[in-house]
């Protein structure tokens, strides 16, 4: 299918730069993200991955350059954007059931009381069904597992049928089974329903089959390209300014020798490599 070069990109950054005080996180960033593209943002802690999302959400101003979403300057609370945050537990007695959490995504931003309760309920039922959460629709969110909560976050984010889906480490602290379930839901929204997805993560392997392009941020530098282009020994060594080894095994990518010891280390394959040294 021809996606068409004439279409406005969903996200467009031109000469974009961000810095906190004297420290530049990244600068001169030119990126276009198209509809139906799964765009992963990788990099060590503190490289500005989450700030990149905040810029798109309108919660963070660029230091230089411009950014547009769907052809317009970013605005806070745009209905064109869905947002999936990191999993964060709710207190067990939070007065909110699974379906109420999803309904916040449908009309929680509107003023006044909910008048058209029936329409909202139907929409919530459809969204719960979409993410396979119907069985625990009436369970308080504080009593759900992290994986179940993240499914609800997906439903909440999809409520507005967003053109752009922003995901901030949505798989963090989920078990393997739920990582697969949640990432495949996000992939479906991207490649079947043609939303652009910006997926911030420090671990590419859970989504490696879905990723179209990667933005790798490190040490104030960045590289954009397909995973094959970016996830190489040469590129990452240059970004980190030190020798980094990239190994491919069974379709997975293992990065060895990262200066930032906190990233990538929970990978089992990697542990094996470590022992081999």
């Amino acid at each position: 299918m021809d996606r068409g070069i004439f279409l406005t990109p969903v996200v467009s950054l031109r000469g974009a730069g961000l810095q906190f005080g004297q420290r530049a996180l990244w600068k001169d960033l030119d990126v276009d993200i198209q509809a139906g593209e799964f765009f992963a943002v990788l990099g060590p802690n503190g490289s500005g991955k989450t700030s990149f999302l905040k810029v798109l959400l309108g919660l963070q101003q660029l230091h230089s350059g411009t950014v547009t979403v769907a052809g317009h300057p970013v605005e806070r609370g745009s209905r064109k954007i869905g947002y999936i945050p990191q999993q964060k537990s709710f207190a067990p007695d939070t007065p909110l059931r699974a379906r109420d959490l999803v309904s916040l995504g449908v009309d929680g931003h509107r003023w006044g009381l909910r008048i058209k309760a029936k329409a909202v309920n139907e929409r919530v039922d459809a969204l719960l069904d979409l993410v396979g959460a119907s069985d625990y629709a009436r369970v308080p969110v504080g009593q759900l597992s992290g994986g179940e909560q993240q499914r609800l976050r997906v439903a909440q984010a999809l409520a507005a049928e967003p053109e752009l889906l922003l995901c901030d480490e949505p798989l963090l602290s989920l078990d393997l089974h739920h990582q697969q379930a949640v990432s495949s839901l996000i992939n479906r929204q991207c490649h079947e329903r043609n939303s652009a997805v910006v997926f911030v993560t420090h671990e590419i392997n859970p989504v490696i089959d879905y990723v179209d392009r990667v933005l790798y941020l490190a040490g104030g530098r960045f590289r954009v390209g397909t995973p094959e282009e970016v996830m190489t020994t040469e590129v990452l060594s240059e970004l980190y300014n030190s020798r980094v080894e990239v190994i491919r095994a069974n379709g997975r990518i293992v990065v060895v020798g990262l200066p930032d010891a906190t990233t990538h280390y929970h990978d089992d394959a990697h542990a094996g490599v470590e022992e081999g040294h």
Partner: protein
């Protein structure tokens, strides 16, 4: 005083019919405050502001006693004190921890000021005591109208911000990403809370405002997590406590607050027991599909085999 006469002092229903006609306005005022307290209370619980209510009520008490001292309108004094406290908390304390320490600082200061003003006051002792512990004030028609009018304004404002306030209360980060003005709503709610506290003090007194603004909502949350039902139950519980308290207190010369707080407390205890029984039975609304469970068991067996 023997037990019988103590009981007679607490529960006295002589000439009940005539008394009832006299306090009709008070009963109506109690119902209005119950409605308001039940509604506001659900947000107080969601936003974890129980301690803040206490702090606001002490400053409201200081305002009211100052008004008493200088011969100004008490309702106006308590309104000024509580709205000032609420705004201060809304503007200063963003994190719960900051907020609690600020409240801890404000509360004794407000109480101390109030005691100072009351000590300077030369009028009737009952007026002083009433501010702290509540009383069946002989609510006249004008007072009732002011009270009801203010309560209606607060409830209309609450209705206008109901959905985004709920969003910002239970899921603040997401609400912010969605463009909900989280900070502005926090301040707006504090003002509404301040006004509600000032109104409630007229009936239950500064020390016992929590019984009206916290306990009913807390009780409702023990038995349901459905947002609608929480609101409905909270309002029913609060009205039961205020109106029931006034009706029980009618014949005695004891202030109304022990009746209101006891009713409120009993409702909470019953709800807590119901909630615990349900939790122990594992009832939480999850649909357990027998097929899925058996499939899981079969899988486990296959693994074991």
């Amino acid at each position: 005083m023997d037990l019988g006469s103590i009981l007679h002092t607490i529960f006295n229903f002589e000439n009940y019919g005539e008394l009832l006609a006299l306090v009709q306005n008070s009963v109506l005022a109690g119902a209005v405050l119950g409605l308001l307290g039940g509604l506001i209370g659900t947000f107080v619980m969601k936003r974890d502001l129980a301690f803040a209510v206490h702090g606001i009520s002490e400053l409201s008490f200081a305002g009211a006693s100052f008004a008493l001292l200088i011969g100004a309108d008490i309702i106006f004094g308590s309104l000024a004190g509580s709205v000032a406290a609420a705004l201060l908390l809304g503007l200063m304390g963003v994190r719960a921890r900051d907020k609690n320490s600020i409240i801890g600082v404000i509360m004794p200061f407000g109480l101390g000021l109030g005691i100072l003003f009351l000590a300077l006051y030369q009028g009737r002792a009952a007026n002083k005591f009433g501010l702290l512990t509540g009383q069946i004030v002989s609510v006249d028609t004008v007072q009732l109208q002011v009270l009801a009018g203010t309560a209606v304004v607060v409830m209309l404002a609450l209705a206008a911000i109901w959905r985004p306030l709920s969003f910002a209360s239970v899921d603040p980060e997401m609400a912010e990403a969605r463009g909900v003005p989280v900070r502005g709503l926090a301040i707006a709610f504090m003002v509404l809370l301040g006004v509600s506290v000032a109104l409630s003090i007229q009936i239950v007194g500064a020390l016992l405002v929590l019984a009206l603004l916290i306990t009913p909502a807390a009780a409702a949350l023990r038995v349901t997590t459905s947002p609608r039902l929480v609101v409905l139950l909270s309002v029913v519980f609060a009205i039961t406590a205020t109106v029931g308290g006034i009706l029980l207190a009618l014949g005695s010369r004891i202030p109304i607050s022990p009746y209101v707080t006891t009713l409120s407390f009993l409702i909470y205890v019953v709800c807590r027991i119901i909630g615990n029984v349900r939790a122990n039975r594992g009832i939480n609304g999850r649909i357990v599909r027998p097929g899925a469970a058996m499939g899981q068991a079969a899988e486990d067996q296959a693994v074991a085999g």
